[in-house]
């Protein structure tokens, strides 16, 4: 267990180093930071002054080390477009993305598990096969298409839910949450749902497959033979045994949700990291892009360590299944 942890942590360090080199190359060797910062009306003198301030004339290894040093302390310089420290920008946006991704995860579990259990228990009924076909359609619905349809239905036609933003937020320390206000919760529903839909389908399929497997084990057969009520077998025996893989897979799902959050944030103008990143790409705001890369490397390495630890206690075969099942 410990050796896995050590090995995975070394792996994470490697990932972060590789990404940091890429991020550094991005900010300093490509693009034209001076023109990016100063914009259209700058004079040549302005440009020279700024180039000096950005230390563009020092050897690259020195600049890389200072970049890495800054990154470790959360300093990525000043955003070209927002004119604010990039670290602050990211920090502000983290709560929005995390709340969105976790809500979507909970939503997809809350819908996906019952559906999967149902499909496994009534495996031969038409409802079950309809659910399976439905899950294929679910997996095939691009996040942005779902988002657009939801806005069309619930914001424009019915006027029930807000179509953009996070609503009102409450600050708890540096964490601004939308979960404590009514308008914040309403604003969360559609983005979370559009993210969750494809994951619902995946969870449902996974739960069904696991349940089917467990239902055929001797353990369940024995329970059946003992004359336990089917409902009790299904829920307490079979489902409980599928929970560990589900929890493990949730870690991976969370990663996917954070990645797809970029899309949902674009559709719903959700002020999270993804939207910030897309705007940065549009403006070629290199410090923000670089910082986003570093943050992503860190976040996903962390997720991976956790997931791998969970696998170590659960079932290593799962990973292949998820890789095959997720598109």
């Amino acid at each position: 267990m410990l050796s896995i942890l050590v090995q995975r942590s070394l792996h994470a360090v490697l990932v972060i180093l590789v990404v940091s080199v890429l991020a550094f190359l991005l900010t300093s060797l490509v693009g034209d930071p001076v023109a990016s910062i100063l914009g259209i009306q700058a004079t040549p003198e302005d440009r020279a002054i700024l180039a000096e301030r950005l230390r563009l004339d020092e050897p690259w290894i020195v600049r890389y080390l200072s970049f890495l040093g800054g990154a470790i302390q959360g300093e990525f310089g000043i955003s070209y477009s927002a004119q604010r420290p990039v670290g602050d920008l990211l920090l502000e946006r983290i709560p929005a993305t995390m709340e969105l991704a976790f809500s979507a995860l909970i939503l997809s579990l809350a819908i996906g598990i019952p559906l999967g259990v149902f499909a496994a228990v009534y495996r031969d009924s038409w409802v079950s096969s309809a659910l399976m076909v439905g899950s294929i359609v679910g997996v095939s619905l691009p996040t942005f298409v779902v988002g657009i349809l939801l806005i069309f239905l619930f914001s424009v036609h019915l006027g029930w839910l807000p179509s953009f933003g996070r609503g009102e937020t409450v600050d708890i320390g540096w964490w601004s949450t939308g979960l404590l206000t009514w308008s914040g919760l309403k604003a969360l529903i559609m983005p979370a749902l559009s993210l969750a839909i494809s994951q619902v389908a995946l969870i449902a399929r996974l739960v069904r497959a696991e349940m089917l497997e467990v239902l055929q084990t001797d353990y369940v057969r024995f329970a059946r033979a003992r004359g336990l009520a089917p409902r009790k077998i299904n829920l307490s025996h079979a489902l409980r045994n599928t929970l560990i893989p589900i929890i493990t897979v949730s870690g991976i799902q969370l990663g996917f949700l954070v990645a797809f959050a970029i899309v949902a944030e674009a559709v719903f103008q959700w002020p999270g990291l993804g939207l910030l990143f897309l705007q940065a790409l549009g403006n070629t705001d290199l410090p923000v892009i670089a910082a986003f890369l570093m943050l992503a490397a860190f976040f996903f390495s962390a997720i991976n360590i956790i997931v791998d630890m969970l696998y170590a206690v659960a079932d290593p075969r799962l990973r292949v299944k998820v890789a095959l099942g997720s598109t």
Binding site: I37, I40, T43, Q83, R84, S163, F164, Q269, G282
Partner: protein
Amino acid sequence: MLKHTIMATATAVALAMAAPASAETLRFAGTTPALTMDPHATNDFVTTAIFRQVYDSVVGLSLDMELVPSIATSWEYLGDNTWRFHIREGVTFHDGQPLTAEDVAFSIMRQKDSRFYTSLFGDVAEATAVDDLTVDVVSNNPDPILPRKMSRMFVMSRAWLEANDSLEIPDLGAEGAEGFTVRNANGTGPMALTEHDPSVRTSFVRNEDYWGDFPGNVDEAVYSPIGSGPTRVAALLSGEVQLIIDLPLQDVERLENTDGFHVEQEPQLLFMQLEMDGTRDVALDTWTNDGEPITDNPFRDVRVRQAIAHAVDADLIVDRVMRGDARVVGIPSVPGFGGYQADLDQPWGYDADAARALLAEAGYPDGFITQLNCPLERYVNTEEICRAVAGMLDRVGIEVRVNGMVWPEFARMLVNGPTSSFHLIGNGANSFDSQDTFTATMMTRDADANEGFFNWALYSNETVDQVSRELPVTFDEARREELYRMGMEAARDTISAVYLHQPMITWGMQDTVEAPIRGDATLTLQNVTIGE
């Protein structure tokens, strides 16, 4: 007469008392965020429109874009390159401190050094407070339109800046803490800033001690930037905001037909044009019909320029791409600019046959291939304009590849080069006087001398240059008029650029909201009324 006045006053008081006790809040949205609240740190027009609520300019602008007294109640030219501005008495900043001539002089000196205002105020040498209510501004050269430029000069409090360590304009790209003035403001305007979170919201509260008129009833206002057009419209339709600036043109009809909403439009003080390389020996990104790199510059030939002007059907673009929400333009000026000449404003007219003939005459009977650089945002429907233009030129034999670029990239291409032989761009005038159009966008480009700095396609014409040199030092109105006409005719005849159209500023709002549009696309919150 006296009785009438008393009656009127009594009615006004009654109305005031009948007004709803609850605070009226205007929630409005636009495309881009207000970048900073420091009025001297940017010239971005969206940001300017926002901080104008908080900071007054030295000279004001009426809703018709006429110069009106503001912080300065009157101004006169003293000779010797010196303008005198008389400062309003009894104006206080939002923090309660009184405004002095010293604050005005200091603000002028602070803003003139801003890199964003060198083209407007680079020539100002000195601003001094003569006494408590008088400021003299001395330029290096005579400047007949300085008062007009002063409508872009914003007054800050020296004491407040000093107390917050912000006498210098917060430096862009600098390491360390951000400037205090980026998120905080203390002006004399109709609204005071309560919160500025650039990418999320900017909030205002009414300045109860405002020195000027406040005909509207807005007590609080919140601006949110919503980049995506459809999301912005959705926000309006669902009632999350009551007003959006930049209503996408395709949604105008729908909104007008939706109960409870209406659309306001006003011509924008800007016109779109296609700029063509006027100087280079070899045009960039241009090929012969066989796809070989071209060895000359077709755009330098006035017949090719005329051919393009005739091949592009500006009326059809206005009708279809702009959905009628624009006006075809025939000279490099629009109504509302100083120096606009209505009788000269005659479009070239669409004539594909003439275009083909002109091309043949110029030695390009089979046309050529070129690239149209196209900014993807900032102006309305640019991408579609570019593609329509490409289709139209295709019909007379000029194959056009549309090269769409996001605004920062487009701007970089121009600033660092310029390296474009053919592009679409909006042309305006910083000071709303055509003089600016001449000196900044049409004069032969010499970036070091700050001449024709925005003349990105390197157009060059002797008459226009002469006009550009003479206008800034000419005070005589008749002579100025003559110069404007001379310059505009020359520009028009030599096709300084293919002028397309003047777009409309288009806002959508709830029927309960009355908000007049000013030509500089500013929502003047003091003039907004929210009804039941």
